[in-house]
Symmetry: C2
Subunit: 132 residues, 2 copies
DNA sequence: GACAAATGATATTAATTTAGTATCATAAAG
DNA sequence: CTTTATGATACTAAATTAATATCATTTGTC
């Protein structure tokens, strides 16, 4: 999978927050809307807060708002946060890098594909994803 | 990962067999060359045999040969065998298909990328991968 | 200031997938 | 008929992913 579950959930949550008229959205509202298990969603939102994608406020009427405009939040940012650096091909098995790496034709092909994938992903913003 | 370990091992083994001057290659030779754990490699070769990518012969001097020319063995065939149908995005969590599938912007983007990846992969043959 | 309602931080458990091993059966060469 | 090779299958272990549970902290309201 290119996009894992956490990233996917993060996108859904951020889209909803982006589309919301209200300036704050609580976990409760998101759970109701997105049908994501609450403890799970909380964890994701907390990470997004720590990574400066969201701003949170505590206490009654607390909740989350986007920390920056939707066109400044990139899908690749989220993937980085929840999946680490995107690699279609790590060439590591049994904790050892493959000795063929330098000459491997397969690696060359995959690397080329990876480049294209990354360049496509780089263009995707939350703004695009949250358009109605 | 786009290519999993089994597919990767299969590619390495098939490349070696394709490059070998001898018309038969035994597991022992492959193990020595490729440093893949023997029981593992055996399993992979057995699957390749069953899937008609290799032909095996038993007994002393037994071993494996390609079942067809290198340009007829496609990387996508191997991926299909060892990884199932290629999907960058299954849109299934908790065993349920995502209800957003029809309208989801993210899915549309990923599907487009997937198309490109698949079309690139389709062009890759064992012949290309085993060129010296 | 006490209390309730929200998020912050972290630890734990469960399920699933991936990785690796072991065993016995079968076929062929000599 | 013995040895050497692959065929088939069952099993165990490790790692990853998924999900939950618990307690701490902040803040608005009465
Ligand atoms: S064989 Fe090639 S693709 Fe596979 S791990 Fe080694 S370098 Fe990477
Ligand atoms: S939100 Fe979109 S990308 Fe994610 S699972 Fe649903 S349809 Fe697929």
């Amino acid at each position: 999978m290119l996009i894992n579950r956490d990233t996917d959930y993060a996108v859904r949550a951020l889209c909803f927050i982006a589309q919301s008229k209200k300036n704050k959205v609580s976990v409760g509202e998101l759970v109701k809307e997105l049908k994501i298990p609450r403890p799970f969603l909380r964890k994701i939102l907390q990470i997004l807060n720590k990574k400066k994608m969201l701003k949170s406020s505590k206490g009654p009427h607390g909740g989350f708002i986007l920390a920056k405009p939707g066109n400044k939040i990139l899908l690749t940012d989220l993937m980085k946060i929840f999946q680490g650096v995107l690699k279609l091909n790590k060439c590591i098995f049994k904790k050892q890098v493959c000795p063929n790496m330098k000459t491997c034709k397969l690696k060359k092909k995959i690397d080329k594909i990876e480049k294209h994938v990354i360049s496509e992903l780089k263009g995707i913003t939350l703004e695009q994803l949250s358009e109605k």
